[in-house]
Symmetry: C2
Subunit: 379 residues, 2 copies
């Protein structure tokens, strides 16, 4: 990352100041004010890593655009939308200059905009591959929403495009950048409660509008598994630190339900990992599920909510004692965007790279094959 | 049931008196004292339904024998053990007369003891069928510990023996007689939170002594599934109120672990029910698991602990509200023993009859077949 940000981070660490849910500039201002009269007044850090957000749907409006208020090094420098009016209104609200506004027709011109270092692709699933590849060709780093693409074949092409452009490709697994998930991963992999035996991951919600693109096979690539079940797949993988060798899935989709004409409602699935850990998982568009639990020899680790955008919950079952822990939770999106900024600055690959995203898709394809054939499938 | 007990129950209902964790005689005495000076003084109820407990291992000592202090109509009138000394000592402690003491050699003479109405069989699994059949031949009702037997073939013979003797055969699924489980079943089947979609049941513990009979294939009939996983099978069945049509299981048993030379450690299994509900379950001898959860359209129902002998926990997730409920929990074993006493008195079959027990075994056999063949199995 650029020097000013490093300096600011070191400064905050040195003074012990904490900044919660406030814009960094304001927070830095407070620190500066608090230090008035002292000798060294640090310069407020600059946000130097520019993002264009591609696709201005619900998630962009509710979480991604507001997250730039909480970033340390990332700033919003571009907006890409099919609607000029929407883009202009948001540009005014978030301070994006006119030269940062693009339609899908003019998209490739981002190549000429030096203020855009990376794009954050928040388009419907079936467009992820195309826009990732075009963005890399335009010389940009890419952060792409999950699922990375609708097929592993597309994932391969995206990974190749990143390599050819010598740019980073990251998949937006925001939970890897928040402290509860990070603490869980560390405790499980450190075998704090002994050898992990069983992993349970359930992700789902009762989806509403039957007309949304997520319920169209071509656009969503599948149903609940592509959108929400992927959290369970991803969690079982990050908790175990392993890739499954075998999967089995059982589907149920309510007959006559207009939401599930093209795609699946619920898939219960199992995964076998090389160490012997067995995972039981659920993906559903019919009921709320938002939990994982790792059962080890001497106790268990639970998160519920496990996949929400904020206010996660964590419990550790140690013998007869249930420990509830409260950790300081940053804006997941801000932390994730800053991670790619840092990766780019340092020249180190992002944590949730294209291979990570492809590994989820590989498992999901195997689960779909199992559901289709009624047989367990080797991954 | 005999008249005095009916009278007492009606009396307690009429006065609104409650009797918690005290012997009925003492409690009845309190009620009598409270009513001193009033006109009608009810007779303390007699415990008229006599049980012989067959097998004096850990469960009998820790829970079953002490439970007779909490029964309304059941009394301990017999003890059957291979150890004369152990039987004599317990007989003295629990007030069982000499004529109620039997060894396995003299077992069939229970036929001549009119104080024994029923036997409660607490022997190793492989002896359940033989002792159930001998008990029915001796003209006794039978309450047999779970699993009912090691094979469905044995279950069939047990059911036939009960029919031939015109006596009741009940399987000791004690949770059906405690109010948390009963409340859960009612709420789920009444669709209080909409249509149930996914059932999760996990039952397990980290078993210790490698030399116990439960870890011998011939004696236990199998491993964790027979002993503890059966709770998950049973729960998925009583919660849904349905019988599964298809199962799939994945096993892992730690290589080189002396506990799992003959039998399985962990099986993760799935069940499909006719209504479309899918169940994800775990059976394990390697880690503590003690929970079920039913996810419906508008929320979920959870019990944890779900299968313990006391101090169960219940949560209802209704929208964003988590309701924790505390119900008065009787002694599970006392309630179960009294239920069979009542069944016998009324001439109504017990709730957890031989068919119920056989249905669990049918599912377990299908899960074992799935594990062996690596294929889903139709039940």
């Amino acid at each position: 990352m650029s020097e000013p940000t490093q300096t600011r981070r070191d400064f905050l660490r040195a003074t012990g100041a904490t900044v919660a849910a406030a814009t960094p500039l304001v927070a830095a201002g407070d620190v500066v004010a608090a230090m008035a009269g002292q000798q060294a007044v640090p310069t407020p850090p600059a946000k130097t890593f520019g993002y264009a957000v591609v696709g201005l749907g619900g998630l962009s409006l509710s979480d991604i655009l507001p997250a730039f208020a909480h970033t340390k090094s990332s700033r919003l420098t571009g907006l890409v939308s099919g609607s000029v009016d929407k883009a202009r209104a948001l540009a005014a609200q978030y301070g994006v200059p006119d030269k940062g506004l693009y339609s899908y027709d003019t998209y490739d011109r981002i190549a000429d905009n030096p203020d855009i270092d990376a794009v954050y692709i928040v388009l419907p699933n079936f467009m992820h591959a195309q826009y990732t590849i075009r963005s890399h060709k335009a010389g940009k780093h890419v952060l792409v929403e999950k699922p990375m693409a609708n097929t592993t074949k597309d994932c391969d092409e995206m990974i190749a495009a990143a390599a050819a452009a010598r740019k980073y490709l990251a998949v937006a697994y925001r939970l890897r950048f928040e402290p509860y998930t990070q603490a869980m991963i560390k405790m499980v992999r450190d075998k704090e409660l002994g050898k992990p035996k069983v992993i349970l991951c359930e992700a789902g919600f009762n989806t509403r509008n039957p007309d949304q693109w997520r319920l169209k096979k071509k656009e969503g690539g599948g149903g609940s598994m592509m959108d929400i079940g992927i959290y369970a797949v991803n969690a079982a993988r990050y908790l175990s630190g392993e890739e499954p060798t075998e999967v089995f899935g059982m589907e149920y989709s309510t007959p006559g339900d207009p939401r599930f004409v093209e795609v699946e409602e619920t898939i219960n699935f199992q995964m076998r990992f090389p160490s012997g850990v067995l995972a039981n998982c659920v993906s559903s568009y019919g009921t709320n599920l938002n939990r994982f639990r790792v059962h080890a020899e001497n106790g268990s680790f639970e998160m519920e909510p496990a996949y929400s955008r904020r206010a996660l919950g964590m419990r550790v079952f140690r013998g007869n004692v249930i420990e509830q822990r409260n950790l300081r939770e940053p804006d997941h999106f801000a932390a994730m965007m800053d991670h790619l900024a840092e990766s780019a600055a340092k020249g180190t690959p992002p944590l949730t790279d294209g291979v990570d995203g492809r590994n989820d898709m590989r498992v999901i394809e195997a689960i779909y094959e199992s559901v289709k054939t009624g047989r367990p499938v080797k991954v």
